[in-house]
Amino acid sequence: MTDEQIKKLEEKANEIRQDIIKMLLAAGSGHSAGPLGMADVFTALYFGQVLKYDPENPWVEDRDRIILSNGHICPVWYATLAHAGFFPHEELLTLRKLNGRLQGHPHYRELPGVENTGGPLGQGLSQAIGHVLAGRMDASTSSAQVPKFRVYCLMSDAELQEGQNWEAIMFAGKNNLHNLTAIIDRNNIQIDGFTEDVMPLENLVNKFTAFNWSVIEINGHDMAEIVAAIGKAKSIFENPTVIIAHTIPGKGVDFMQWKPEWHGKPPKADEAKNALHQLRTLGGKIRSEHE
């Protein structure tokens, strides 16, 4: 990627972060840290020429599939989908509102581009495997013999405490599901504190390797690294790949960063104003035209 392309992606991620803050403020409830932390990964997926999708035809058969397992970070998904043209941008402010389509946790196909229902942790990877198997079955009866789409499962780190994930990890490893890529948001926090205090997850690399997965570790805020890792995962035909994206929870807003208490709450009006100022000025590095 050129520096120009990277800069564009970073600007897009910044816009998405601002939308997340506005959405959470309008909703009056929701999760802050996770969505901000994953804004770069979502941006890379949808704007880094990674995913195959068509917002005009959101359910076209050969689309790549994004399955969001940790549904509570859906503000980042919704904001990214709106930026990608799946639905009107102004609808973002209806998050969690009655009669709206932006449910508090994502609901299968309620919004164009929302591929799965997710919320109770640990369910997404199994759903993703279902898509992979369907793609394989269809490929086996076609002349190409290659699945028409790839499946990306976005997960949190703490949800690996759910047993269902290890059932799914075992299954995917056994069946060499190479068109499956899991992306773990390794932000080290969960509701009750830091993951390694609440219930340690390490050594994650060894655990996945032991289950016959390829593992790639990246800086989840480095666009070039994110895009390169996904490209590498596509080239691995031996087994499924997990990308462990090390991220900063609340990334871009200094008083939220690294704070478990920001896992599950929205900013108040003054906090949102502060957060938006930080994002617009890139942490005080530039002046904002909004000031």
Binding site: N116, G124, A128, Q164
Partner: protein, 344 residues
Amino acid sequence: MRYTSCGLWAAKFEASMNKFLNPKLFDKDVEQIPTRNGYGEGVVELGEKNKDVVVLTGDLKESTRVEEFAKRFPERFIECGVAEQNMMGIAAGLAAAGKIPFVSSYAVFSPGRSWDQLRVSVCYSNLNVNIVGAHTGVSVGPDGVTHQALEDIAITRVLPNMTVVVPCDAIQAKKATQAIAGIPGPCYLRLTREPTSVITALDSFFEIGKAQILAEYGQDAAIVACGPLVYQSLVAAKELEKEGVGVIVVNNHTIKPMDVGMIMKVARNCGVVVTVEEHQVMGGMGSAVAEVLAKNYPVPMEMIGMQDCFGESGQPEELLEKYGMSVAAIKKAVKNVIKRKVPS
């Protein structure tokens, strides 16, 4: 006159019986086939007709009767190992991608252990996932309480978008297997382990949501039953007729959506209802019938089923006897409920 004499009804019933019922129904050597066998045959036929039909199991290929499907269609058979939560989630993904999965396990494990996945990944998304729960009821027998599913109707019928079907015999199980594949939303099919009497005829009518009157000896009471206990209900009805009590027997095979019209009709005609199921009375088919009647046409009811307790190891017949689901218990419940009849 409200109550027609038993003899007249009996004659009418005998004349129409062959249309629906196995002609050998009351013979000593009536065929005994487990309902799970009907599923196994049905799903193979489905697999031949429809390439989107997929079968999953959690290390229970033989006993859920999907071994033949696995042999015939290995590319559409998914062995999940002992991991029912993952299995239910995979089924959700398959259905979201256009497949018609059948999730085959024992009901205590699926939908038992996989209920959260059923609720969130399957039902909320209203996906065409067919959950097949084998080994239900105390008649699972010697394996004991851990393997006797007695809560599965309650936990499935409470979920929005769900269809719940309890076939009365192997023939009906086969028909039900084929019928649920065509329903776009999630369906639960309840099966049993033990060989039970073949009640219906091969060509008898079956439709999801349409309860069937299998016997009409009179209108003293209505027995509304589901599953293989329909047989015990029919035997009870026949014996009661000899004792001067004429009853209607309804095979209420679809618990959800329930055939409200039929339930109302028999309640109105008979004035009292006995429900019969091999399931906890709390939340089961009887409760569902009570919900319909309480709202539309309240009548006195008795409920045959597990009375809020666990079972134990034993032989199926012994267990049905001990836990009050025998022919004798059904007859007693009919006589008791008639005593409570409100004079019209």
